[in-house]
């Protein structure tokens, strides 16, 4: 991947005057016309958001994680607003796979939207059965495997926090999924070494990685002086977690540059999305920001295209991982710098990326 020139700073021109950027991208074998998707659990199955923008125009709808059986979820209160974010403890409420396929997926199919189906399970067997069930249906673009679930067979240990359990789930889902359908493993940031988990699931057959899921957090209501959520703890999401997400993606892309990443965690604007892409994401999901602005996925896609054009990119794909290139020599006059091949593996030493906490 080589780019002829890069302007030193974004050109401040009106969006209309900018050249069109080729926004197509791919996640493993999945070709997408746009790199912006919804995030699981933040868009239901797309129907509600279709009131606010045409959901066939975005990359894909990533559906709420579905389990084998109907599930009532956790008691309310299920959410608490936090600075630039929120905590949620929904508990994967959902109708179960059969109802999901008959109603939600069927609606997406008729609407002509691309569907990335997110699955969740309490055991390796449940994930396996979900994959087998999905094998019987056509019209799914990819499977995202939400492994941030407690494993009932391992005293509630979360799959995503254990490389062996995570790999076991992914291997089984991969085996039971049609070869043409990419399997994305969705990683939790609540681990000591996310690169190790990434490597484990990729070795087990994951075609790509979705990152990041929410971070475990807690709010105490100072009036009742009790936990604000009925579930006590909840998942933190929104712009508050964005730097954590960018760091995770940067670290994983540096080590696994050929593995496509669907990036998410606090994306609210096109520039936020651009950070993820520069860190190594091949596509992004917009989650919590949708609650603030129901048109966010479409708006972010537009803003991202403008941001890329302003920086002289003609193709979205050229920006993937661009932050990993070697430091540039002195900028040439006129704000134009010299040509650089982008090859993160060669350029960045392991120690630089892991860069332990100092001071």
């Amino acid at each position: 991947m080589t780019r002829a020139v890069i302007t030193h700073s974004p050109r401040r021109t009106s969006a209309e005057a900018l050249p069109r950027v080729d926004m197509s991208t791919s996640l493993a074998r999945l070709e997408l016309p746009s790199p912006v998707l919804t995030a699981s659990g933040c868009a239901a199955a797309g129907r509600e958001l279709d009131q606010f923008f045409d959901i066939t125009t975005i990359g894909a709808v990533v559906t709420k994680s579905i389990m084998m059986n109907p599930r009532s979820g956790r008691p309310t209160p299920r959410m608490a607003e936090t600075p630039s974010g929120m905590l949620n403890s929904i508990g994967l409420q959902g109708p179960g796979i059969d109802s999901f396929l008959d109603n939600d997926l069927e609606w997406l199919r008729q609407r002509g939207a691309r569907a990335v189906v997110s699955i969740a399970g309490g055991s390796v067997d449940e994930y396996t059965r979900l994959a087998a069930r999905l094998r019987q249906v056509s019209d799914i673009a990819a499977i995202e495997v939400n492994i941030s679930c407690p494993n009932v067979e391992s005293r509630g240990q979360v799959f995503a926090c254990d490389p062996l359990a995570a790999a076991e789930v992914i291997a089984s889902v991969r085996r039971n999924t049609a070869p043409g359908i990419p399997v994305l493993a969705k990683l939790s940031p609540d681990v000591t070494d996310i690169v190790a988990i990434a490597k484990a699931v990729v070795s087990a057959g994951a075609d790509g990685l979705s990152m990041i899921n929410t971070l475990l957090g807690m709010v105490i209501d100072t009036n009742t002086m009790r936990p604000a959520l009925a579930g006590v703890t909840g998942g933190l999401s929104g712009p508050a977690i964005r730097p954590v997400a960018v760091r995770c993606i940067f670290q994983v892309h540096a080590q696994l540059p050929d593995v496509p990443i669907l990036g998410m965690g606090g994306i609210r604007t096109g520039l936020d999305a651009l950070e993820f892409v520069l860190a190594g994401a091949s596509a992004v999901s917009v989650g919590t920001a949708t609650f603030n602005d129901p048109s966010a996925p479409a708006r972010v896609a537009h803003e991202l295209a403008v941001a890329l054009a302003e920086r002289g990119f003609e193709r979205f794909e050229d920006a993937i991982g661009y932050a990993h290139r070697t430091p540039e020599p002195h900028a040439a006059p006129g704000g134009v710098v010299a040509v650089h091949p982008v090859n993160p593996e060669d350029d960045i030493a392991d120690g630089d990326i892991r860069g332990g906490v100092e001071g």
């Binding site: 659990g41 933040c42 868009a43 239901a44 509600e48 958001l49 009131q51 606010f52 709420k64 059986n69 109907p70 599930r71 009532s72 979820g73 956790r74 008691p75 309310t76 209160p77 299920r78 959410m79 607003e81 600075p83 630039s84 974010g85 929120m86 949620n88 929904i90 409420q93 959902g94 109708p95 179960g96 309490g122 407690p150 009932v152 009925a230 929104g238 712009p239 919590t288 920001a289 949708t290 609650f291 603030n292 602005d293 129901p294 048109s295």
Partner: protein, 291 residues
């Protein structure tokens, strides 16, 4: 009962036309092109608070108080609110000309009776806000409308004078007796239902009040339509935070989203005593010893 099915919500940039005080409450008037034509009594709007870079990401839900589809400003709407935290604090400080992002109309509206039957409208505090559009719609169908408004104290009542315009009778209760009868709306409701021979009771207010109103209505053979207020993150049906246990037509209890399946529910269908819990017999409840 005929059902008003809504025809979708829109997102518009509103502009503040005015803010005014009404007792302990604020009344905010916004331009809202397109929303008045879609709005029905009981619908709500979700307002973005704090501007486009706000750290308060979640929208705040407010019942629609009035809508106006024509006039100098095109479509406008009004909401009535109490300051209770960061978002409503910001709203109270809004000035004419400032922008507010509006999503609406949201939710299922009140169901209206097909026949001109007597109706009682019960509200607690700012719960009276949606009752004026409702009263107009009921009167347009020839229904007799009587209202019962209650609050902790006089300054927390909203729209008493206006209620006199639309209602055949108005009964006021306050907890402290500062105006009307000392006590709760449910203390006077049985008398009003009997006196008016009401077929339908409409209610909006705190959950505890709704639970009692639903019981009183049922005990007197009246239908009840209750507007619930559950904490909401999205207001449009995508997040699953706003659920409560509601019995379906098939007799099965489900955790349903109050933002899209409500906020108006039949009082006899909500499992009031089980709100904020997952009842054992709810659809999809955890299996004992399971997840």
């Amino acid at each position: 009962m005929s059902e008003n099915t809504r025809s979708g919500a829109i997102q518009v940039k509103g502009e503040v036309l005015s803010t005014r005080r009404a007792g302990d409450y604020h009344v905010l008037t916004l331009t809202a092109p397109g929303i008045p034509e879609l709005a029905r009594p009981g619908h709500f709007v979700a307002l973005g608070v704090g501007g486009v870079t706000s750290a308060n990401l979640l929208r705040r839900a407010f019942s629609i108080y009035t809508v106006q589809s024509r006039g100098v400003y095109g479509g406008t709407l009004e909401v009535v609110f109490a300051v209770s935290g960061a978002g409503t604090e910001w709203m109270a400080g809004l000035h004419r000309g400032q922008q507010v992002d509006i999503v609406g109309p949201l939710g299922k509206p009140f169901m209206l009776p097909k026949n001109p039957v007597p109706c009682v409208l019960v509200a607690g505090g700012y719960g009276s806000a949606p009752m004026f559009m409702l009263a107009d719609a009921l009167r347009a169908r020839g229904c007799r409308v009587d209202v019962v408004f209650g609050a902790a104290t006089e300054s927390k009542l909203f729209g008493v004078l206006e209620a006199k315009r639309v209602a055949a009778s108005i009964t006021i209760t306050t907890d402290d007796g500062s105006v009307g009868e000392r006590g709760r709306v449910t203390d006077v409701l049985p008398t009003v239902i009997k006196r008016t021979d009401a077929d339908v009771v409409y209610a909006c207010g705190p959950m505890g009040m709704l639970r009692e109103v639903a019981k009183v209505a049922a005990a007197h053979g009246a239908y009840s339509q209750c507007a619930v207020e559950e904490s909401m993150a999205c207001g449009i049906g995508v997040c699953m935070t706003c659920v409560l246990p509601v019995i379906g037509a098939d007799g099965i209890t489900r955790m349903v989203r109050s933002c899209v399946d409500g906020p108006i529910f039949r009082g006899d269908r909500v499992r009031w005593d089980d709100v904020d819990t997952i009842p054992d017999d709810v659809y999809g409840a955890p299996v004992k010893g399971g997840h």
